[in-house]
Symmetry: C2
Subunit: 170 residues, 2 copies
Protein backbone atom coordinates (compact mmCIF):
# COMPACT_ATOMS: atom_id res chain seq x y z
CA UNK A 1 0.00 0.00 0.00
CA UNK A 2 1.26 3.47 -0.81
CA UNK A 3 1.56 5.96 2.04
CA UNK A 4 -1.24 8.49 2.51
CA UNK A 5 -0.89 11.78 0.63
CA UNK A 6 0.67 14.67 2.51
CA UNK A 7 -2.26 16.96 1.63
CA UNK A 8 -5.08 17.33 -0.91
CA UNK A 9 -3.47 20.34 -2.61
CA UNK A 10 -3.17 19.65 -6.36
CA UNK A 11 0.32 21.19 -6.55
CA UNK A 12 1.51 19.07 -3.62
CA UNK A 13 -0.01 15.92 -5.14
CA UNK A 14 1.74 16.61 -8.45
CA UNK A 15 5.03 17.02 -6.55
CA UNK A 16 4.43 13.74 -4.72
CA UNK A 17 4.24 11.98 -8.10
CA UNK A 18 6.83 13.93 -10.12
CA UNK A 19 9.11 15.48 -7.49
CA UNK A 20 12.35 13.58 -7.83
CA UNK A 21 15.48 13.97 -9.93
CA UNK A 22 14.51 11.57 -12.72
CA UNK A 23 10.79 10.98 -13.36
CA UNK A 24 10.20 14.05 -15.55
CA UNK A 25 13.44 13.42 -17.50
CA UNK A 26 12.37 9.84 -18.27
CA UNK A 27 8.91 11.02 -19.37
CA UNK A 28 10.61 13.64 -21.59
CA UNK A 29 12.66 10.92 -23.35
CA UNK A 30 9.58 8.76 -23.94
CA UNK A 31 7.49 11.76 -25.06
CA UNK A 32 9.95 13.62 -27.31
CA UNK A 33 12.47 10.92 -28.20
CA UNK A 34 9.96 8.09 -28.52
CA UNK A 35 12.25 5.84 -26.48
CA UNK A 36 10.06 2.94 -25.50
CA UNK A 37 12.47 0.22 -24.34
CA UNK A 38 14.58 0.03 -21.19
CA UNK A 39 17.78 -0.29 -23.27
CA UNK A 40 17.11 2.88 -25.28
CA UNK A 41 16.19 4.88 -22.20
CA UNK A 42 19.45 3.73 -20.61
CA UNK A 43 21.88 3.95 -23.54
CA UNK A 44 20.56 7.20 -25.07
CA UNK A 45 20.21 9.06 -21.76
CA UNK A 46 21.84 12.50 -22.14
CA UNK A 47 21.94 12.75 -18.38
CA UNK A 48 23.53 9.35 -17.89
CA UNK A 49 20.90 7.67 -15.75
CA UNK A 50 22.09 4.57 -13.90
CA UNK A 51 20.46 1.23 -14.67
CA UNK A 52 19.11 0.59 -11.14
CA UNK A 53 17.65 4.11 -10.89
CA UNK A 54 15.97 3.77 -14.29
CA UNK A 55 14.53 0.45 -13.21
CA UNK A 56 13.07 1.80 -9.96
CA UNK A 57 11.73 4.98 -11.58
CA UNK A 58 9.98 3.08 -14.40
CA UNK A 59 8.41 0.83 -11.78
CA UNK A 60 7.11 3.85 -9.85
CA UNK A 61 5.83 5.56 -13.00
CA UNK A 62 3.84 2.41 -13.82
CA UNK A 63 2.49 2.28 -10.24
CA UNK A 64 1.48 5.96 -10.46
CA UNK A 65 -0.47 5.28 -13.65
CA UNK A 66 1.80 7.35 -15.91
CA UNK A 67 3.27 4.45 -17.90
CA UNK A 68 1.96 1.12 -19.09
CA UNK A 69 4.09 -1.94 -19.74
CA UNK A 70 3.29 -4.35 -22.55
CA UNK A 71 5.22 -6.72 -24.77
CA UNK A 72 6.57 -5.24 -27.98
CA UNK A 73 4.41 -6.49 -30.91
CA UNK A 74 7.63 -6.92 -33.00
CA UNK A 75 9.73 -8.69 -30.34
CA UNK A 76 7.51 -10.56 -27.90
CA UNK A 77 10.46 -10.93 -25.51
CA UNK A 78 10.86 -7.17 -25.12
CA UNK A 79 8.87 -4.89 -22.85
CA UNK A 80 7.62 -1.64 -24.34
CA UNK A 81 6.58 1.36 -22.23
CA UNK A 82 3.64 3.53 -23.32
CA UNK A 83 2.45 6.86 -21.95
CA UNK A 84 -1.04 6.85 -20.45
CA UNK A 85 -3.58 9.64 -20.98
CA UNK A 86 -2.57 10.97 -17.55
CA UNK A 87 1.06 11.27 -18.67
CA UNK A 88 0.16 12.71 -22.09
CA UNK A 89 -1.61 15.55 -20.29
CA UNK A 90 1.74 16.55 -18.80
CA UNK A 91 2.68 18.25 -22.10
CA UNK A 92 1.78 21.73 -20.72
CA UNK A 93 3.82 21.05 -17.55
CA UNK A 94 6.89 20.05 -19.57
CA UNK A 95 6.41 23.08 -21.81
CA UNK A 96 6.25 25.41 -18.78
CA UNK A 97 9.35 23.80 -17.24
CA UNK A 98 11.25 24.10 -20.55
CA UNK A 99 10.23 27.73 -21.06
CA UNK A 100 11.41 28.60 -17.56
CA UNK A 101 14.63 26.58 -17.80
CA UNK A 102 15.53 28.09 -21.15
CA UNK A 103 15.21 31.61 -19.72
CA UNK A 104 16.76 31.20 -16.29
CA UNK A 105 19.21 28.31 -16.44
CA UNK A 106 22.35 27.56 -18.52
CA UNK A 107 20.52 25.71 -21.32
CA UNK A 108 22.34 25.09 -24.61
CA UNK A 109 21.03 26.65 -27.83
CA UNK A 110 20.40 23.32 -29.59
CA UNK A 111 18.46 21.87 -26.70
CA UNK A 112 16.40 25.05 -26.25
CA UNK A 113 14.92 25.21 -29.74
CA UNK A 114 12.06 22.84 -29.04
CA UNK A 115 11.26 24.51 -25.69
CA UNK A 116 11.12 27.86 -27.46
CA UNK A 117 8.76 26.57 -30.17
CA UNK A 118 6.55 24.85 -27.61
CA UNK A 119 6.19 28.05 -25.62
CA UNK A 120 5.47 30.09 -28.76
CA UNK A 121 2.95 27.52 -30.05
CA UNK A 122 0.99 27.59 -26.79
CA UNK A 123 -2.14 25.56 -26.01
CA UNK A 124 -3.01 24.94 -29.69
CA UNK A 125 0.36 23.30 -30.37
CA UNK A 126 0.17 21.34 -27.08
CA UNK A 127 -3.21 19.96 -28.16
CA UNK A 128 -1.72 18.81 -31.48
CA UNK A 129 1.18 17.21 -29.64
CA UNK A 130 -1.13 15.45 -27.19
CA UNK A 131 -3.25 14.13 -30.05
CA UNK A 132 -0.16 12.74 -31.77
CA UNK A 133 0.99 11.14 -28.52
CA UNK A 134 -2.45 9.53 -28.16
CA UNK A 135 -2.16 8.04 -31.66
CA UNK A 136 1.27 6.60 -30.91
CA UNK A 137 0.91 5.51 -27.29
CA UNK A 138 -2.79 4.69 -26.98
CA UNK A 139 -3.62 3.57 -30.56
CA UNK A 140 -0.28 2.04 -31.59
CA UNK A 141 0.52 4.22 -34.62
CA UNK A 142 4.11 3.91 -35.84
CA UNK A 143 5.74 7.36 -35.41
CA UNK A 144 7.22 7.06 -38.92
CA UNK A 145 3.62 7.24 -40.23
CA UNK A 146 3.19 10.76 -38.87
CA UNK A 147 2.51 13.21 -41.69
CA UNK A 148 4.70 16.21 -42.61
CA UNK A 149 2.32 18.48 -40.64
CA UNK A 150 3.08 16.56 -37.46
CA UNK A 151 3.78 18.86 -34.52
CA UNK A 152 6.60 16.59 -33.32
CA UNK A 153 8.10 16.39 -36.82
CA UNK A 154 8.19 20.19 -36.93
CA UNK A 155 9.85 20.47 -33.53
CA UNK A 156 12.43 17.88 -34.52
CA UNK A 157 13.10 19.56 -37.90
CA UNK A 158 13.77 22.87 -36.16
CA UNK A 159 16.09 21.14 -33.69
CA UNK A 160 18.03 19.38 -36.45
CA UNK A 161 18.39 22.61 -38.42
CA UNK A 162 20.14 24.29 -35.48
CA UNK A 163 22.40 21.27 -34.98
CA UNK A 164 23.43 21.32 -38.66
CA UNK A 165 23.94 25.11 -38.69
CA UNK A 166 26.16 24.93 -35.64
CA UNK A 167 28.14 21.98 -37.00
CA UNK A 168 28.87 23.98 -40.20
CA UNK A 169 29.92 27.03 -38.17
CA UNK A 170 32.62 25.01 -36.38
CA UNK B 1 31.26 24.35 -5.90
CA UNK B 2 28.06 22.82 -7.19
CA UNK B 3 28.38 19.73 -9.36
CA UNK B 4 28.29 20.16 -13.12
CA UNK B 5 24.85 20.03 -14.76
CA UNK B 6 23.76 16.65 -16.12
CA UNK B 7 22.88 18.17 -19.53
CA UNK B 8 22.03 21.50 -21.14
CA UNK B 9 18.39 20.55 -21.75
CA UNK B 10 16.13 23.21 -20.23
CA UNK B 11 13.68 20.62 -18.86
CA UNK B 12 16.50 18.69 -17.21
CA UNK B 13 18.00 21.89 -15.76
CA UNK B 14 14.61 22.84 -14.30
CA UNK B 15 14.36 19.35 -12.74
CA UNK B 16 17.87 19.71 -11.29
CA UNK B 17 16.70 22.85 -9.45
CA UNK B 18 13.10 21.91 -8.57
CA UNK B 19 13.06 18.10 -8.67
CA UNK B 20 12.73 17.09 -5.05
CA UNK B 21 9.81 16.47 -2.70
CA UNK B 22 9.73 19.92 -1.07
CA UNK B 23 11.12 22.87 -3.09
CA UNK B 24 7.96 23.55 -5.13
CA UNK B 25 5.75 23.16 -2.04
CA UNK B 26 7.83 25.73 -0.12
CA UNK B 27 7.71 28.14 -3.08
CA UNK B 28 3.92 27.65 -3.22
CA UNK B 29 3.56 28.65 0.45
CA UNK B 30 5.68 31.77 -0.02
CA UNK B 31 3.90 32.66 -3.29
CA UNK B 32 0.25 32.00 -2.39
CA UNK B 33 0.29 32.11 1.41
CA UNK B 34 2.79 34.98 1.71
CA UNK B 35 4.66 33.02 4.37
CA UNK B 36 7.97 34.80 4.67
CA UNK B 37 9.49 33.57 7.95
CA UNK B 38 10.94 30.18 8.83
CA UNK B 39 8.45 29.77 11.72
CA UNK B 40 5.40 30.37 9.51
CA UNK B 41 6.66 28.02 6.82
CA UNK B 42 7.18 25.37 9.48
CA UNK B 43 4.08 25.84 11.67
CA UNK B 44 1.56 26.44 8.86
CA UNK B 45 2.84 23.67 6.60
CA UNK B 46 -0.17 21.62 5.42
CA UNK B 47 2.21 18.85 4.45
CA UNK B 48 4.02 18.83 7.81
CA UNK B 49 7.54 19.61 6.66
CA UNK B 50 10.25 18.80 9.22
CA UNK B 51 12.39 21.61 10.58
CA UNK B 52 15.73 20.26 9.31
CA UNK B 53 14.34 19.61 5.82
CA UNK B 54 12.85 23.12 5.65
CA UNK B 55 16.21 24.53 6.73
CA UNK B 56 18.18 22.67 4.06
CA UNK B 57 15.64 23.37 1.29
CA UNK B 58 15.55 27.11 2.03
CA UNK B 59 19.34 27.15 1.92
CA UNK B 60 19.34 25.43 -1.48
CA UNK B 61 16.63 27.74 -2.85
CA UNK B 62 18.78 30.74 -1.85
CA UNK B 63 21.86 29.15 -3.49
CA UNK B 64 19.84 28.49 -6.67
CA UNK B 65 18.83 32.16 -6.83
CA UNK B 66 15.13 31.52 -6.19
CA UNK B 67 14.94 33.12 -2.74
CA UNK B 68 16.67 36.02 -1.07
CA UNK B 69 17.24 36.34 2.66
CA UNK B 70 17.13 39.71 4.40
CA UNK B 71 16.28 40.98 7.86
CA UNK B 72 12.63 41.80 8.47
CA UNK B 73 12.22 45.60 8.50
CA UNK B 74 9.79 45.27 11.46
CA UNK B 75 11.86 42.81 13.52
CA UNK B 76 15.55 43.20 12.76
CA UNK B 77 16.29 39.90 14.52
CA UNK B 78 14.09 37.94 12.13
CA UNK B 79 15.06 36.70 8.67
CA UNK B 80 12.55 37.26 5.91
CA UNK B 81 12.55 35.28 2.65
CA UNK B 82 11.63 36.98 -0.64
CA UNK B 83 11.00 35.48 -4.06
CA UNK B 84 13.42 36.58 -6.78
CA UNK B 85 12.33 37.42 -10.33
CA UNK B 86 13.50 33.93 -11.33
CA UNK B 87 11.11 32.37 -8.79
CA UNK B 88 8.24 34.73 -9.65
CA UNK B 89 8.43 33.47 -13.23
CA UNK B 90 7.53 30.01 -11.95
CA UNK B 91 3.85 31.06 -11.75
CA UNK B 92 3.02 29.32 -15.08
CA UNK B 93 4.82 26.14 -13.91
CA UNK B 94 2.85 26.05 -10.65
CA UNK B 95 -0.34 26.72 -12.57
CA UNK B 96 0.36 23.83 -14.97
CA UNK B 97 1.18 21.48 -12.06
CA UNK B 98 -2.00 22.51 -10.24
CA UNK B 99 -4.17 22.08 -13.34
CA UNK B 100 -2.76 18.60 -13.90
CA UNK B 101 -2.96 17.60 -10.23
CA UNK B 102 -6.54 18.78 -9.93
CA UNK B 103 -7.57 16.63 -12.90
CA UNK B 104 -5.59 13.46 -12.31
CA UNK B 105 -4.88 13.18 -8.59
CA UNK B 106 -7.10 12.98 -5.46
CA UNK B 107 -7.17 16.75 -4.81
CA UNK B 108 -9.78 18.15 -2.39
CA UNK B 109 -12.42 20.57 -3.66
CA UNK B 110 -11.34 23.47 -1.40
CA UNK B 111 -7.70 23.22 -2.38
CA UNK B 112 -8.54 22.93 -6.08
CA UNK B 113 -10.46 26.20 -6.44
CA UNK B 114 -7.39 28.36 -6.94
CA UNK B 115 -5.80 25.91 -9.37
CA UNK B 116 -9.02 25.91 -11.39
CA UNK B 117 -9.16 29.73 -11.52
CA UNK B 118 -5.48 29.98 -12.42
CA UNK B 119 -5.93 27.58 -15.31
CA UNK B 120 -9.05 29.41 -16.52
CA UNK B 121 -7.39 32.83 -16.20
CA UNK B 122 -4.43 31.74 -18.31
CA UNK B 123 -1.42 33.91 -19.25
CA UNK B 124 -3.23 37.21 -18.59
CA UNK B 125 -4.02 36.27 -14.99
CA UNK B 126 -0.47 34.87 -14.51
CA UNK B 127 0.95 38.21 -15.64
CA UNK B 128 -1.21 40.04 -13.08
CA UNK B 129 -0.11 37.59 -10.38
CA UNK B 130 3.55 37.99 -11.30
CA UNK B 131 3.23 41.78 -11.19
CA UNK B 132 1.68 41.61 -7.72
CA UNK B 133 4.45 39.28 -6.55
CA UNK B 134 7.04 41.76 -7.89
CA UNK B 135 5.43 44.56 -5.88
CA UNK B 136 5.47 42.50 -2.69
CA UNK B 137 8.76 40.64 -3.00
CA UNK B 138 10.93 43.00 -5.04
CA UNK B 139 9.48 46.40 -4.04
CA UNK B 140 8.41 45.69 -0.45
CA UNK B 141 4.67 46.44 -0.73
CA UNK B 142 2.62 45.22 2.22
CA UNK B 143 0.16 42.58 0.86
CA UNK B 144 -2.67 44.24 2.86
CA UNK B 145 -2.26 47.27 0.57
CA UNK B 146 -3.30 45.24 -2.48
CA UNK B 147 -6.49 46.68 -4.00
CA UNK B 148 -9.81 44.82 -4.39
CA UNK B 149 -8.90 44.05 -8.02
CA UNK B 150 -5.84 42.11 -6.87
CA UNK B 151 -5.48 38.76 -8.63
CA UNK B 152 -4.39 37.07 -5.40
CA UNK B 153 -7.26 38.64 -3.44
CA UNK B 154 -9.70 37.22 -5.99
CA UNK B 155 -8.18 33.74 -5.79
CA UNK B 156 -8.30 33.84 -2.00
CA UNK B 157 -11.90 35.12 -1.94
CA UNK B 158 -13.00 32.24 -4.17
CA UNK B 159 -11.15 29.77 -1.93
CA UNK B 160 -12.75 31.17 1.24
CA UNK B 161 -16.21 31.06 -0.31
CA UNK B 162 -15.88 27.32 -0.92
CA UNK B 163 -14.58 26.75 2.59
CA UNK B 164 -17.56 28.64 4.09
CA UNK B 165 -20.11 26.90 1.83
CA UNK B 166 -18.77 23.50 2.80
CA UNK B 167 -18.70 24.38 6.50
CA UNK B 168 -22.41 25.38 6.32
CA UNK B 169 -23.29 22.17 4.48
CA UNK B 170 -21.92 20.06 7.36
Amino acid sequence: MRPKNRSGCPINLAVEVLGDRWSVVILRDIMFGNKRHFRELLADSMEGIASNILHSRLKRLVESGLLERSSDPDHKQKTIYSLTEKAIQLVPVLSALGAWGRRHLPATEELSVRAELMEAGGPMLWDDMMNELRQIHLSGLDPSERGPDSAFAQLNDAYEKVVVTRAKAR
